[in-house]
Subunit: 321 residues, 2 copies
């Protein structure tokens, strides 16, 4: 036990320092928190006092809008503005894929040797609480390691797009011309949660139309933060066109969050969700232990046999905690 | 309170009877359990003694393999074999879509007037526990209403395919020729959980090849139920070709489950997951109440301020239950 804590302290020391082992230590810590390892608590305890409040930018958008390319272009622009940048690519729909399957999705070789860029793919592996349980731990590692901006790119569909907004300080919604993305966005509820909208592939026909459609839909939407008017930027991520403007909007939104008090509220709400997710995971583990002593099996047999309804069985389970 | 229970008892009476209000009462009960209404407990309590153990067949497969058409063809074949049939179409990826968006996906007008077919679309609406929390309640309604076979069709990708296997007695994996489905299946882990494999659109080129590929992959897979050798059937759902054979395999698998004891084990495991999901939902609700009295906010502010790590905050939360 003592040994393990020592190792964690040493890893955290290295990850937060500037020595040669830093990138490796950061990667190792993220693996630890991603695997839900027993060291998770020690890692969190050692990291919490070292975090400084990295600005988390969530990138979301349908497949084909150019998410990876945009992420890479944003890293370039953020580095040019002297930020230390973390990138987390999360695939919440693949409980079976480890990091390996995802590895090839993040093709950012140009940043691979930059000591102030940290890139990591992670799967949420069907964790209870999914993204909301594993990703905050990984964000904390990147924050403590000195990243002042972390881009979280979600590979996936549906619910993840809303989950990412729960994690992010700034939610950036990527669209592309002629993909019916406007309607998709309306369906998924991301109009309400997007802080910045980016129409990528703006060298194609229809970019201006897409911008106009999004603007019209935004004007009809009740937004979470009514005081912020989301800008809609046209970009060509492959050439970098418009990307500096996006970075500028990220800075403006960050300033708005701080001056309006929204930033603190979002951070507290995020911590609240994180605590809840951890607590539910812990309760679930305790249920599994109960299941080990056949209490849960007995309740389940009662439900199957029609002798008890599942709600009163659940009450017994909670009472046994 | 008494009033509400009376209403529920009356609804359940009508849904389980043979009177003219039956289809409406079944639909109303499913709406009640889907909406996580306060009457949920009363509904479950009234239904549990009336269930007889409907056989649940989960249908899963990538978009484009012909899931809705296959479901419809299976209903026809099951009705010809004198079964009373329930159909539940679940979309777990759309927390925002109500039943309305899904309604048009289940185009089974030919069964709409058959009094022994009950068709219902439901979204899992980001319920904690998703499918595993809401669907068992809906299955219970259909079971108590006299359906002896219920088809559960999942519209969606990834995790849902594995979740459906947790719900079903028989998991039917639909494939189509030339869609790279074999590899998809291997990735999603459904080779391990499929009890029946169906290559639909078998009038197209490549059906035999797909069957051969699946057979080869199955022979290399460690399966959950090693004693059952999953048949691979070729069908053309639009004409009904091969569908009777699928129904026959469903019956064979059902008989295997009962003779091997697997059936009872699966039902108990399913009830266990259901109880756990309900209990976790209840714990989550209690956390939300704690959040009402600002305890959780205080813990979250401590985490944001670096004064406490989220794991010890979660411990405090559980201690406060």
């Amino acid at each position: 036990m003592a040994r393990r804590t020592d190792d964690v302290d040493e890893l955290v020391e290295t990850a937060c320092g500037d020595g040669p082992g830093k990138p490796r230590a950061v990667a190792r810590l993220i693996s630890l928190v991603e695997d839900d390892s027993p060291a998770l608590r020690d890692v969190a305890r050692a990291l919490v006092p070292r975090t400084t409040g990295a600005h988390v930018v969530g990138l979301t958008g349908s497949p084909g809008v150019g998410k990876s390319t945009s992420t890479s272009a944003l890293v370039t622009a953020l580095r040019a503005a002297d930020h230390t940048v973390g990138v987390l690519a999360v695939d919440p729909t693949s409980p079976f894929s480890g990091g390996a399957l995802l590895g090839d999705r993040v093709r950012m070789t140009e940043h691979a040797t930059d000591p102030r860029v940290f890139i990591r793919s992670m799967a949420s592996r069907g964790h209870l609480g999914g993204l909301s349980a594993a990703a905050p731990q990984a964000l904390r590692v990147l924050d403590a390691a000195g990243c002042d901006v972390v881009l979280v790119e979600t590979v996936g569909v549906g619910q993840s797009e809303v989950e990412i907004a729960g994690l992010a300080d700034t939610t950036l919604v990527l669209l592309a011309p002629g993909m019916g993305d406007g309607i998709q966005a309306a369906k998924a509820g991301i109009l309400e949660i997007g802080d910045l909208f980016v129409v990528n592939k703006a060298d194609r026909d229809g970019a201006a139309t897409t911008r106009r459609e999004v603007r019209a839909m935004l004007s009809m939407t009740d937004r979470v933060d009514g005081a912020w008017k989301p800008p809609i930027t046209l970009t060509v991520a492959t050439t970098g066109q418009g990307v500096d403007e996006v970075v500028q909007h990220i800075e403006e939104h960050r300033a708005h969050l701080e001056s309006s008090g929204q930033g603190e509220r979002r951070r507290v709400a995020r911590a609240r969700r994180e605590i809840e997710a951890i607590a539910l995971g812990e309760v679930s583990r305790r249920f599994d232990h109960l299941s080990g002593d056949h209490r849960l099996d007995g309740l389940a047999a009662d439900v199957v046999g029609g002798r008890q309804d599942p709600f009163s069985a659940a009450d017994s389970l909670i009472a046994g905690l």
